[in-house]
Amino acid sequence: MTMLDKRMTPAEIVGQLSDGMTLGIGGWGPRRKPMALVREILRSDLKDLTVVAYGGADVGMLCAAGKVKKLVFAFVSLDAIPLEPWFRKAREAGQIEVLELDEGMFQWGLKAAAFGLPFLPTRVGLGTDLAELGGLKTVQSPYADGEVLIAMPALKLDAALLHVNRSDWRGNIHAFGPDVYYDEWFARAAAKTYVSCEQLVDRMEDHYPAEAQANIVERAFISGVTEIPGGAHPSSMPPAYGWDMKAFKAYTDAAKEPGNWAEVADRFVASDEQTYLAGFGGVEAVKALPLPIF
């Protein structure tokens, strides 16, 4: 029988992950990142991950902590701080393998995985260094046009992590904000998807039946849920709160001085979520962060 009660603790979620896994992380740069779950990974012994992400501090921290064997990315950035400092350090030290992709190819690879296809064809990548650097192959259209296209390989994920605005214990999620990026495709591309949420309710239909359009991905794709208010900090979680640029600045400065993750991990990860948030003024301060202006 399928377990419909998908509630787990963050530690139980991370307990479902194993060394060497391919892990997708939802969100986009410094926006809507499941940072509390990333921090839980940082508190664990998990290692040798292949991380697939539109990267922000999630990627930077996992690289800094030596958790990443390979990174699949199109960019890693904190928006207002364009160059992600810890990712940059890891790259310039030659510390990680990479598959660099265009942003559109990336979501195309997630869709190929979601549909169980080996690849999806695209023009994107032709005429650039991506194909050669990434070992991407071409296919030829079998129709009269005979067009040669890049075969974007499926980005199959062993697990995906998302942070959403709310969920019930069955995994009926709601995601709000102006843009939910490719979170739904991370979920469909993954064997298992674990979500943290700002608010956990018992039965979604009893509370928010009028907002079902915010259910961006169906509960069949959700394997575990956990309630972590402020769980996207320091990334933004509209409409609940904006990003914490002061925290990103401190994190960026720390990459220069002292420049050693072990010395600052306590501040940016801490021993548990409550201690972490207390270091940034507590969950109330997080919820008061203004939404970013673009």
Partner: protein
Amino acid sequence: MTDVTLAELCIFACSEAFRNNGEVVATGVGPVPRLAASLAKLTHSPELMMTDGEAYLVEQPVPLGPRGYNDRKAAGYLPFSRFFDAAVWTGRRHAMVTPTQIDRFGQINLSQLGGTHQQPKTQMLGVRGFPGNTIYHPNSFFFPSHTSRVFVAGEVDMVSGVGYNPAKRVPGGNYSAVDLRSIVTNLCVMDFGGPDNAIRVVSLHPGVTFAQVQEATGFELIDAVTGETALPDGEALAIIASLDPHNIRASVIKDNPTIGRAA
């Protein structure tokens, strides 16, 4: 009479790239390109579409810098989750961006400098959407500092965007939508109108000579100069000022030089 800064002249010149583009999404990344797209929409090209920089389509361009979160007035919706389907892969977009390097083929780089792909000397953003943008829709460029470190000799360190380099073109691919339009710098305006899409200088900013531009460029340019880059008029300057109430444009070009006076 109003003083005109070099940044304002560049905004005015960049806005010309968006003329007669039709109903496409005009994306300007960075203060000068963004102000240029907005200026184009508010003057000669109201048919342009654009976003608030986040997810909503607006008919009234959103000013730069701090403002009320809800000040934007949404007329439509174009989040990243629809961007490739609707704007990029359908060719309904013209982007103006500032790569770190560009070469004589119009190949651009935003990803890494020096070293190897496994261990770059300098890691930058990554290719972002450049490969898709350049194979699907028109692109133009703005560079606030025209030097041979930007306009490189040979080829860019990592080809992040498609150019007109025949050696890079996998046979049988469809490159029909590769369409590099305009390059505006702190010295001049250029296009890709030479033989085999070679880069030509088409106008020089006041006081700049072709020799100066060539000196600051790592490859040979074609002199197709027809005159001086036009100064913005009073109306354009007023619109620029209203779109940039915090004067962010003053920080784009070193020392924010004044270049002339508008009537």
